[in-house]
C-alpha cells in the first residue's frame, strides 16, 4: 500500500496495550497530536468502528460515499473499508473501536454472524439515523461503556464492556431491521456470508463462479440462487462488484500506476484490465481516478 495516501491503520491502544477495545471522543480525535496518521486522510482500518454523533453537522466518508452526520447519526465501519473524517469544530461524538478478537471470539457462531451483519455494507447502508427515543437508548449504552472504560476500569471492566458492546450492536441491528434497512433473517444468509468472505479473500486469484462453487461444495446453480436471494444479483455480478470495489479503492486511495493496480488485482495483461474496468464502470480507470 502507498504510504503517502492510504494509511493502513493497525489497532493500537497506547494507554492499555492489552485491550482489544478502545474508545474516544470525536472532538479529542481531531486534537490528538500523537496519532501516527491524520484522521482526516483516507485510511483503511483493521478493526471495527461504531461512530455515534451527539452534536453538530458534518460528513463521514466510507469508501465512495459521503454520509451526512448530525445528532443521532450512527455510522458503522467494518474492517478493510476506507473512511475519512470531515473535520468540524462543532461535531461531537463517540468513537468505539474494537478488533475481531474482542467480540467475535466470545460469541457463539450465530450471535457472531448477526453482529457482523450490522457492519456488512452489502446487507444495508452503513449509516443509521436514530429517532429521538432510539438515540437516548443508544447514548445510554455508550455512556455506560464510557464510564466503565474511563472511570471504573478494573479487572471486570473489559468483560462488562464486551457485553455492553454486544447489547449495543444488537440494539442497532434491531433498529435497522425494524426500519427495513437491513437484509436480515433470510434463507441462505449464512451461505451468502460464506460466499462473500470467500470472494473478498480470493477475488485477486479468481473471478470464476465455478471456483467459488467448488470451494463451497455447491453447484453454480445453487450459488446463483443464494446470491440472487440476498443481493438480487447473479453470483458473477456479485463477484464483479467486489472486484470492482477493490480496484476502485486502489485507484482512489493509492498513487499506484494503473499497470501496478492491474497486476495487484491479478490481471495478467493490462489491456484485459482496461476492458474489464470499462465494462464494469463504463469509463477508463484514469477517468474514474480523476473524478475523485
Amino acid at each position: 500500500m502507498d504510504e503517502e495516501k492510504l494509511i493502513q491503520v493497525k489497532f493500537q491502544n497506547k494507554a492499555r496495550p492489552d485491550s482489544a477495545f478502545d474508545m474516544l471522543k470525536l472532538e479529542e480525535l481531531f486534537r490528538r497530536k500523537s496519532l501516527d496518521h491524520n484522521p482526516e486522510n483516507l485510511h483503511k482500518v483493521e478493526f471495527f468502528i461504531i461512530l455515534l454523533i451527539t452534536e453538530g453537522q458534518g460528513y463521514h466518508t466510507i469508501d465512495f460515499t459521503d454520509y451526512k452526520c448530525e445528532k443521532g447519526t450512527v455510522v458503522t465501519i467494518r474492517k478493510d473499508q476506507i473512511h475519512k473524517f470531515f473535520r468540524s469544530d462543532n461535531v461531537k461524538g463517540h468513537l468505539l473501536l474494537f478488533t475481531d478478537e474482542f467480540l467475535v471470539s466470545y460469541l457463539e457462531k450465530q450471535e457472531n454472524q448477526k453482529s457482523m451483519q450490522l457492519f456488512n455494507e452489502f446487507l444495508g447502508v452503513p449509516k443509521i439515523q436514530l429517532s429521538q427515543s432510539d438515540f437516548e437508548t443508544v447514548k445510554n449504552i455508550v455512556h455506560r461503556i464510557d464510564e466503565e472504560y474511563f472511570e471504573t476500569m478494573d479487572v471486570h471492566s473489559l468483560s462488562i464492556i464486551r457485553s455492553e458492546l454486544h447489547i449495543l450492536i444488537t440494539q442497532l441491528y434491531r433498529i435497522k431491521s425494524q426500519s427495513d434497512q437491513i437484509i436480515a433473517d433470510k434463507k441462505y444468509l449464512p451461505e451468502f456470508i460464506t460466499f462473500q468472505n470467500l470472494v473478498e479473500n480470493h477475488v485477486v486469484r479468481t473471478t470464476r463462479v465455478k471456483d467459488y462453487a467448488d470451494m463451497m461444495a455447491l453447484s453454480t446453480k445453487t450459488l446463483n440462487t443464494i446470491s440472487r436471494n440476498i443481493v438480487n444479483k447473479s453470483a458473477k455480478e456479485f463477484i464483479d462488484e467486489i472486484c470492482s470495489k477493490q480496484i476502485k479503492r486502489l485507484l482512489i486511495n493509492t498513487s499506484h500506476s494503473i499497470k501496478e493496480i492491474s497486476f495487484m488485482m491479478g490481471f495478467e495483461e493490462t489491456t484485459n484490465f482496461y476492458k474489464y474496468f470499462k465494462r464494469q464502470l463504463g469509463m477508463t480507470p484514469e477517468q474514474f481516478r480523476a473524478s475523485f
Binding site: 459521503d66 469544530d89 474514474f288
Partner: protein, 255 residues
C-alpha cells in the same frame, strides 16, 4: 493539517453560531468579491454585516455541502433577520475564499407533498458521475426550463419518482404540470433566460440561472437537483428577486 475548502466553508458558516473568529481568516482579506447585492464588497462588507447582527447573532445550520473544483456550494438553514433558506457559493484561490454568491428566501411551511425546502437526501455518492450528471441537469434546464420543450421532460426526470421541495409544488411530473398550468392560467411567468453556472458533486447538481418569475420580477434561480441512475429524482430551489441597480451595495452583479 490543512482543512479542505469544503471544511473551511462549513466552518465559516458555523462561526455564525459560535462567534469563532478563526474561520474569518479563510477569507482573502485583499480580495473578496461579494455578489450578495445587499452587502458591501470585500472583507469590510462582511464585517459590517456581522456587526449589525441582532441580539444573539445570526444562526446557520449547514444541511448540505459540496465541492466542485475551486468552488464550494452549500444549502443552509439560516436565522438571518428571520428564518431563511439559502444557497451559498464560495470560490477559492490558494485555499482562501475570494468570491461569494448566494440566494436567500424566507422559510415557508411544508409544500403540498409535505416536504420542506431543506429536508430530503443528504448523502453524496456517484462521484465518478459528476460531469455526466452536470450535463444531464444542464440539458434539462436548457431544453425544458429555458426552451419549453416539455416533450423532453421524461428524458430528464424520473416519471415514477420526482421528489419536490419547492414550497408551492407537489411531487412528481403531475405536480410540476399542475404548477405550470396554474402559472399559465393566472398570467404568471416562470421564465429562464440564461444559465450562469452549473456546479456538481456526485449525485447533486446546482444550477444558477437568471430569468423572470411571478408577475415578471427579475430573479435569480438557484436549483439543486439530485440525480439517480441518469435521471433527476429530487429538486430544491431558492428564488430571489434581484434588486434594481441603484440599490446595490457593490458593483459586482448578482452572477
Amino acid at each position: 493539517m490543512e482543512l479542505t475548502n469544503k471544511e473551511k466553508a462549513v466552518a465559516l458558516l458555523n462561526s455564525f453560531n459560535t462567534g469563532d473568529q478563526t474561520p474569518i481568516s479563510y477569507i482573502n482579506s485583499q480580495k473578496y468579491i461579494q455578489h450578495n447585492l445587499a452587502v458591501g464588497d470585500g472583507l469590510e462588507g462582511f464585517g459590517e454585516v456581522m456587526q449589525h447582527a441582532p441580539e444573539g447573532g445570526f444562526k446557520a445550520n449547514v444541511v448540505r455541502a459540496f465541492q466542485d473544483g475551486d468552488f464550494v456550494f452549500t444549502h443552509t438553514e439560516y436565522n438571518f433577520f428571520g428564518p431563511k433558506v439559502g444557497f451559498d457559493v464560495f470560490r477559492f484561490e490558494d485555499g482562501l475564499i475570494v468570491e461569494h454568491w448566494d440566494n436567500l428566501s424566507e422559510i415557508t411551511p411544508p409544500n403540498p407533498s409535505g416536504r420542506t425546502q431543506l429536508d430530503g437526501a443528504v448523502d453524496i455518492s456517484d462521484k465518478e458521475k459528476t460531469s455526466e450528471n452536470k450535463k444531464l441537469v444542464e440539458g434539462f434546464v436548457n431544453d425544458v426550463l429555458m426552451n419549453g420543450q416539455s416533450d423532453k421532460l421524461t428524458t430528464y426526470i424520473n416519471a415514477e419518482k420526482y421528489l419536490q421541495h419547492n414550497a408551492a409544488v407537489a411531487d412528481g411530473l403531475d405536480g410540476l404540470g399542475a404548477a405550470l398550468q396554474y402559472f399559465a392560467d393566472n398570467g404568471l411567468v416562470m421564465q429562464y433566460d440564461k444559465v450562469h453556472s452549473v456546479l456538481g458533486e456526485g449525485n447533486f447538481v446546482l444550477t444558477i440561472s437568471e430569468g423572470k418569475f411571478g408577475k415578471g420580477d427579475h430573479v435569480a434561480y438557484y436549483d439543486l437537483f439530485r440525480v439517480e441512475n441518469g435521471l433527476i429524482v429530487e429538486h430544491w430551489d431558492v428564488i430571489e428577486v434581484i434588486p434594481p441597480q441603484e440599490e446595490w451595495k457593490n458593483s459586482n452583479g448578482k452572477f
